[in-house]
């Protein structure tokens, strides 16, 4: 195979050299992993956990799609179907997408991108992983004691009355929320206090900006969800009935508080993805991003405006028309900041010295799917159109384009991009590209028909459907199989590369970003000596001192 076309150089501190044992080699006992405070190991622990939860959520998704192969019951009962789509949503949102990029790659990369030895509170960081595990176990436990059939949004009054294991699952989500708060807090303080000499706010890699903006949302929005979920828990378990209309309760208030978290949560999912895009685009175009400041500040802009838009989920819920109008207009503002980013990335790619690798292929998929999903989002922010599309497959398709088409493709891009850094090994490039193409095609075939289904009037979360919708449903299900094949082949070649992949060297992509200025896998304290941080993370005009021949 081709060997590292972009690497210039004699690596300083070659990987696996005895002098600087990598973070993987210093101690190898299980105990040393479970009690580690090394941000890189915690990142790896998170990555492993999240890939497992993603596989589980994906399994439920496949089951749902299989069920829709025929208009009548196909493989499961209606009640099982309700539990399946609820669990699919809960697992994918809280146990995969929200922690995906920040907790796995953020933990691993953020301190290195700041030139720090670790995050500000390493023990808190480990605690957040354990808290996450406890929450995840509670959620999964609820499957065995009756499941949960409310949908991932847990709307009362039904969630207050449902006989399924609502309190257990909600407590699980509450605890997972704690874990995201702790991670976000850690990242904010780390960004403020741990930057190395020469790494000012405007010299940080753009991934740090997006993780920082994400952390702000996590820290400020999650407690609101926590509070309102606690009230639903006591409503369901103890019959407090705060949202029960028969006792004067107002379920719309639940929706306000729920979406005050859950709409910004979309940006918790997609902002880190945007950070990955910024990194990957600059590296493979070998160029300075078209405007560093515009990308950095638009991250903060999205974080802020994301808090002003939650009401667009509630246009038909009984909210006042005045409020709905206000939310509709505010929602469209988000598109402005997202567009700033998209234009910046495409301008960065223009006339760049493009190296077409798997991560960049995923970024192309991201750009196409994210813009597609985003534009349908602007359309649904118009109240009159939303009334038609509300709670149909159109919405399902729209948010899957953002969450899967945006976040999952960015996650996969990041996984390919940083895999050499984390493990010191390269993945097979051609298989990677083939799988990326499969994932993209599978995704598009799965979800594009759902736009048409929704527009034709197919409601979401319905077990059966009229026979005239069958063709589109079958296409969608077949697409899901293609997507699954793409993801599985990705998993297989990654596992293969862990053992047999060619050694990557410190900087296989020739990136200028700070995390590449050390061995792969990095030593325990990230840098064996202080790297030259005066040369910026996107400065491709001069060679790094280490790389000079």
């Amino acid at each position: 195979m081709t060997t590292l076309p972009l690497t210039h150089a004699a690596p300083p501190g070659a990987p696996r050299s005895a002098a600087h044992a990598s973070y993987l080699d210093t101690e190898t006992t299980l105990r040393s992993w479970l009690l580690t405070t090394d941000h890189k190991r915690i990142g790896v622990l998170y990555l492993g956990t999240l890939l497992a939860t993603m596989a589980l959520g994906g399994f439920f998704a496949m089951a749902i799609r299989l069920e829709h192969l025929t208009p009548d019951p196909t493989v499961m009962s209606a009640m099982t179907y309700n539990r399946m789509f609820t669990l699919h949503g809960v697992i994918m949102v809280w146990l995969f997408l929200i922690p995906s990029i920040p907790s796995a790659f953020g933990n691993f990369m953020l301190p290195m991108m700041l030139g720090a030895k670790d995050v500000a509170f390493p023990r808190l960081n480990l605690l957040s992983w354990y808290v996450f595990i406890v929450g995840a176990v509670l959620v999964l436990l609820s499957t065995f004691v009756g499941g949960i059939d409310t949908g991932w949004t847990f709307y009362p009054p039904y969630s207050a009355l449902s006989p399924t294991a609502v309190p257990l699952a909600l407590l699980g989500v509450f605890i997972v929320g704690f874990s995201t708060i702790l991670t976000g807090l850690n990242f904010i303080v780390t960004t403020h206090t741990m930057r190395a000499e020469g790494v000012g706010w405007m010299q940080m890699p753009l991934f740090v900006w997006s993780i920082y903006a994400t952390s702000i949302i996590q820290v400020l929005a999650t407690p609101v969800l926590g509070m309102v979920l606690l009230f639903v828990v006591v409503d369901n378990a103890l019959g407090w009935g705060l949202f029960d209309p028969s006792r004067g309760g107002d379920p719309v208030l639940y929706q306000h508080l729920f979406w005050f978290y859950s709409h910004p949560a979309v940006y918790i999912m997609v902002l880190p993805g945007m950070g990955v895009v910024s990194e990957v685009v600059a590296t493979y175009a070998r160029k300075n991003p078209y405007s560093y400041k515009a990308i950095a500040y638009s991250s903060l802009g999205i974080a802020f405006v994301g808090f002003l838009t939650w009401g667009h989920h509630m246009f038909v819920a009984g909210m006042s028309t005045f409020d709905a109008g206000a939310f509709g207009v505010l929602s469209m503002l988000v598109a402005v900041f997202s567009a700033i980013k998209v234009f910046n990335w495409t301008w960065t790619l223009k006339r760049g010295a493009i190296a077409l690798k798997t991560p960049l292929l995923y970024i192309f998929a991201f750009l196409f799917l994210f813009v597609f999903g985003g534009m349908t989002g602007v359309a649904t922010a118009a109240m009159s159109l939303d009334v038609h599309w509300h709670d149909t497959y159109f919405i399902v398709a729209h948010f899957h384009f953002i969450m899967v088409g945006g976040t999952l493709t960015a996650f996969l891009a990041g996984l390919h991009y940083w895999f050499p850094k984390m493990t010191g090994r390269l993945y097979p490039e051609r298989l990677g590209m083939l799988s990326a193409a499969l994932v993209f095609a599978g995704f598009f075939v799965t979800f594009f028909p759902q736009f048409l289904l929704g527009n034709a009037g197919m409601p979401r979360r319905y077990f059966n459907y009229p026979a005239e919708f069958q063709v589109l449903h079958v296409v969608s299900t077949v697409g899901s199989w293609v997507l699954a094949v793409g993801l599985m082949s990705t998993a297989i070649y990654f596992l293969w590369s862990l053992r047999w992949g060619p050694e990557a060297g410190p900087n296989p992509w020739g990136s200028r970003s700070f995390e590449w200025r050390t061995a792969s896998p990095p030593p325990k304290h990230n840098f064996t000596r202080t790297p030259p941080f005066e040369i910026g993370p996107y400065d491709y005009t001069q060679p790094l001192p280490d790389e000079a021949p």
């Binding site: 500000a120 006591v234 407090w240 004067g248």
Partner: protein, 213 residues
């Protein structure tokens, strides 16, 4: 005594100053989450208040204003004591700091006792969360159940915070008595103290909602 020992900073920080700054910033960010946590409940209270202002006024009128107000004074005094404790420790007077922190914890426990007495009173009158109890059959006012549910939910959550705060201060008190916390590491007591102050601030807002207006 404490000044004689030089204090090492954690390995991944550049200096003790940076570490202290990080600890304080971490606590402030955490307090921001607490603000939003209680803020969500406040938002619920205020929106229900707008919808059922008659019932909410009836609820406030029924509550024991004197006990709630005494409890406010207790917390204000405790905040003052812990603020003094921080100043004392910064000057190296660990003994006084320990006494003041001890006083703060005692006042926190007093608060919990008074709160418990109030809860007992409500239960005697047949007021339970969720509009359960004979009080609600005697006073069938729409929205009254929401008032008492929010009352129990918010004050119980606050009491939980008082308990946690007292626990944190207890750990710090132990460290002061053992001589592990001195002039250079006074920032740790500061971090604990600002948490305690926030618990006080939350009550400052709960008091008018449930007892005054």
């Amino acid at each position: 005594m404490t000044a004689a020992r030089s204090v090492e900073h954690a390995e991944h920080f550049e200096s003790l100053e940076r570490q202290a700054h990080a600890a304080r910033l971490g606590m402030w960010v955490f307090l921001a989450t607490e603000v939003l946590l209680f803020g969500a409940a406040f938002a619920l209270f205020l929106t229900y208040q707008v919808q059922f202002s008659h019932a909410f006024r009836a609820g406030v009128a029924h509550n024991t204003k004197v006990l709630g107000s005494v409890n406010t004074a207790v917390l204000l005094l405790s905040s003052t004591l812990v603020a003094c404790a921080v100043h004392a420790l910064r000057r190296g007077d660990a003994k006084l700091a320990a006494r003041l922190v001890g006083g703060t914890i005692a006042l926190g426990l007093t608060f919990l006792v008074i709160k418990g007495i109030e809860y007992g009173k409500h239960f005697d009158e047949g007021i339970y969360p969720g509009g359960v109890g004979h009080y609600f059959t005697l006073h069938p006012i729409r929205g009254l159940a929401a008032f008492w549910t929010l009352y129990f939910g918010m004050t119980a959550l606050h009491a939980l915070h008082v308990t946690i705060g007292a626990g944190v201060l207890g750990v710090l008190l132990h460290a002061i008595v053992r001589g592990r916390l001195g002039r250079e590491t006074a920032y740790r007591l500061e971090v604990g103290a600002i948490y305690w102050h926030l618990v006080d601030v939350i009550w400052i807002f709960l008091w008018p909602l449930f007892y005054l207006a």
